[in-house]
Symmetry: C2
Subunit: 218 residues, 2 copies
C-alpha cells in the first residue's frame, strides 16, 4: 500500500488534473502542497517506480490507470468522512476539510463502503463535490462558475471550489450555502466584480475571484 505522503501526492495530482486540466508541472504540485520543488522531484521518481504516474517533461505528470484508481478511492474516503463529520458530528462546513485530510488515510478493506452505507450513499459531499462510488464512478461535477454566467441569470449554488475556511466563513456570513439561489445582476467590466442578489435579497457586490470559486447549477 501507499504511505501517507504518497497518498497526498496522488490526491494532489488528481485534483490538479480535475480542475485545471492543464499540464501538471512539479512547480504546480509543489505550490499546492506547500513543499519544495526538489522534494516533488523525489516523489515523482518514487511514484513513477510504483507505476502510479508517468512523467514526461513535455506533457507533465499524468496518473496511470492504477494511479487514478487509487487517487479516486482516497477522494472517496475524504468526501465520505466530510459528510460524516458534518451530518453526524455536527461540524460546520468550514471545519471538516482538515480533519478529513487525516481520516482519508485510514485504510481498511471495508471501511469506506460501510461508512457509505451508514451515511445513506450520499452523492455529493458538503462542498458539493461528487463522491466517487466504490467502482470509481461518480456523479457529474459542476463546471460553470458564477463568474461565467450571463448577467440576469438566476442560478443555484451547486458546489464551492475553494474549501478554505476563509472562503467558507465568508459564504456563511453572506448566508450562502449549497442550494442557495443567486441572481447575477451585473458584471463590472473594470475588475470583473459581480453584483448579485442572494436568495432574492438586496444587491451585494463580490469579487471576480469569489465568483470563480462558486460552481452553479440550472
Amino acid at each position: 500500500m501507499h504511505t501517507l505522503s504518497e497518498e497526498n501526492y496522488l490526491k494532489c495530482i488528481y485534483r490538479l488534473w480535475q480542475d485545471r486540466g492543464e499540464k501538471i508541472t512539479p512547480t504546480a504540485i509543489a505550490e499546492w502542497l506547500g513543499n519544495n520543488p526538489a522534494s516533488v522531484v523525489d516523489m515523482i521518481r518514487k511514484l513513477t517506480d510504483k507505476q502510479l504516474i508517468i512523467y514526461d517533461k513535455k506533457k507533465g505528470v499524468e496518473l496511470t490507470a492504477q494511479g487514478q484508481k487509487d487517487a479516486t478511492l482516497i477522494v472517496r474516503r475524504h468526501r465520505l468522512w466530510e459528510v460524516f463529520l458534518l451530518e453526524k458530528l455536527g461540524y460546520h462546513w468550514d471545519e471538516i476539510h482538515d480533519i478529513a485530510e487525516d481520516l482519508e488515510h485510514i485504510k481498511d478493506a471495508t471501511l469506506a463502503d460501510r461508512l457509505d452505507k451508514f451515511l445513506g450513499f450520499p452523492e455529493y459531499d458538503p462542498h458539493g463535490d461528487p463522491i466517487p462510488k466504490a467502482n470509481g464512478k461518480m456523479a457529474k461535477r459542476h463546471s460553470i462558475t458564477l463568474a461565467d454566467v450571463k448577467p440576469g441569470t438566476h442560478c443555484r449554488v451547486a458546489a464551492v471550489k475553494d474549501t478554505t475556511s476563509a472562503f467558507l466563513q465568508y459564504l456563511q456570513k453572506l448566508d450562502i450555502s449549497i442550494g442557495t439561489k443567486i441572481q447575477l445582476i451585473e458584471k463590472i467590466p473594470f475588475d470583473g466584480s459581480l453584483v448579485i442578489s442572494i436568495a432574492g435579497g438586496e444587491r451585494t457586490t463580490v469579487s471576480q475571484k469569489f465568483g470563480e470559486n462558486i460552481l452553479t447549477d440550472i
Copy 2:
C-alpha cells in the same frame, strides 16, 4: 503535539502500568510494541525530554501527570472509535481494534467529545474496557478473572483482557460475549484448566490462559 510513534509509546506505557502494575522496563515496552530495546531507549529519551515520563533505572518508566493525561485521551479516542465501528458500522468485535489503532491518532480539539455525544456517552467499549471521560475520569475496571473465581461461582463476562482476533474469534465460537453468564464448575489442579458452563449450557473445558483473559462481574 505528539507524533504517532510517541502516542503509541505513551499508550503502551499506560497499558503496561494499568494491567501489570509492575515496574515497566525498556524490554517490556519493546516486547509489547514489537520493537527493538535500542529503539525504546531512544524514545525514552525523547519522552523524558518532553516531560511525559520519568525513567529511573530502579523504578522503571513512569508517566508524569501530563503523560498520564495525554495517554488517557488517546485511550479515550481508541475506545470511542471502537464503539463507533461496532455499533454504527457493523464490524465484529474482533475487527475493530486494529482500525481504532489508527483512528485514535486523529487529533482535533472537539472530535472525541462530539463522537462521545453521538454515541450516547458510552461507559464501556466493546471489549468491556471503561472509556475515560474528557476529564480523565472513568468507570472502574474489572479485575477478577475467571481463573481467580472459586469453583461453583456464577459470574458474568464483564470484559476481555486479550483483544487479538485469535482470542475474540474463539470466544465467538464458544458463544461468549460481554454479558454472557458463566459458571465455573471445576479447576483442574494439574494445569489449571477450567471446566465451565456457558449460559447454563453443557460443560466445556478451557485453558488457564483462557480464564486469565476473561474479567468477571458479580
